[in-house]
């Protein structure tokens, strides 16, 4: 548990430092890319959980994540198309993807209840990290009001997911 927690904390600081490295000068195309990438990461984690999880609450949670993040990302794509913004890859997106790939590989080695606990602990930590990045970096940096609005709704959704994940994590103990 301690090991997992420290991994989660490392993920969180990686995200904030990557976001900070960009300064407050993130552009809308970069912000759109980061937000979209953050969604894809959680969808991939959910897909892994769908095949690996043993607890049915965990499986249901993973399905909820897949459904919600896909819906939000679809809306994000519709918005960038409408705004004629092309999402632009950047260091934050790259750091997030790298971190997520490592995490998936690490989770892939676990089985049964160990996997379930590690997955849900990471979901709590991941949503926390994304929410903090949204609040302190992405939302304040967004200049288009519609993009800002989408991020603000995204923040409420992901805060909901964080609480949901916390409930599920607590029910496993």
């Amino acid at each position: 548990m301690f090991v997992r927690l420290s991994i989660a904390v490392a993920a969180l600081s990686l995200l904030s430092s990557a976001a900070l490295a960009q300064g407050a000068k993130l552009t809308d195309p970069q912000i759109a890319h980061i937000a979209y990438t953050a969604g894809v990461i959680d969808i991939n984690a959910a897909k892994q959980a769908d095949s690996k999880a043993s607890n049915k609450e965990i499986k249901a949670f993973a399905k909820d994540m897949e459904r919600d993040h896909e819906a939000v990302n679809k809306q994000a794509l519709d918005l960038v198309k409408k705004l004629k913004v092309t999402p632009e890859d950047n260091d934050t997106s790259k750091a997030l993807s790298k971190q997520a790939t490592d995490k998936l590989a690490e989770l892939a080695k676990l089985k049964g209840a160990d996997y379930d606990k590690a997955y849900i602990a990471n979901e709590v930590a991941y949503h926390k990290a994304v929410n903090s990045a949204l609040e302190t970096q992405l939302i304040p940096s967004a200049s288009n009001p519609e993009l800002k609005g989408l991020l603000q709704t995204g923040l409420k959704i992901f805060q909901g997911h964080q609480q949901h994940a916390e409930h599920v994590a607590a029910s496993l103990k």
Binding site: D68, V72, T153, K156, G160, Q163, H164
Partner: protein
């Protein structure tokens, strides 16, 4: 017995008697951008709640005390008739930060 029963039904349905249990109302509760409004609503047993989900996400109205659990798919409206009196706190199972209260009079 049967006749008496029907008679009682008839009496209950006459306009005079109808006035006693005030006619059931329909109350709209809207979920939009993960906000439930009104956050505090009042209703009576027999009233219909029209749950309107304007979001692209599925939500639920889940009573903490187990009195109801309504699933509302994205961009849909679901109706349910209130069966039990009480002050019911409810939330969304998928987004537990969505919370509201429904006060149901007998």
């Amino acid at each position: 017995m049967r006749l008496g029963h029907h008679l009682a039904m008839f009496v209950l349905l006459t306009p005079g008697a109808m006035a006693v249990p005030a006619h059931a109302a329909t109350i709209q509760i809207v979920m939009e951008n993960l906000v439930v409004s009104p956050a505090e609503a009042s209703a009576k047993v027999g009233d219909t709640i029209e749950w309107v989900n304007k979001d692209i996400l599925a939500h639920t109205a889940t009573a903490k005390n187990g009195d109801f659990d309504v699933a509302i798919a994205p961009k849909t409206t679901v109706t349910s008739v209130l069966q039990k009196a009480g002050t019911v706190e409810y939330y969304c199972r998928y987004h537990p930060n969505m919370k509201a209260v429904l006060t149901i009079a007998p």
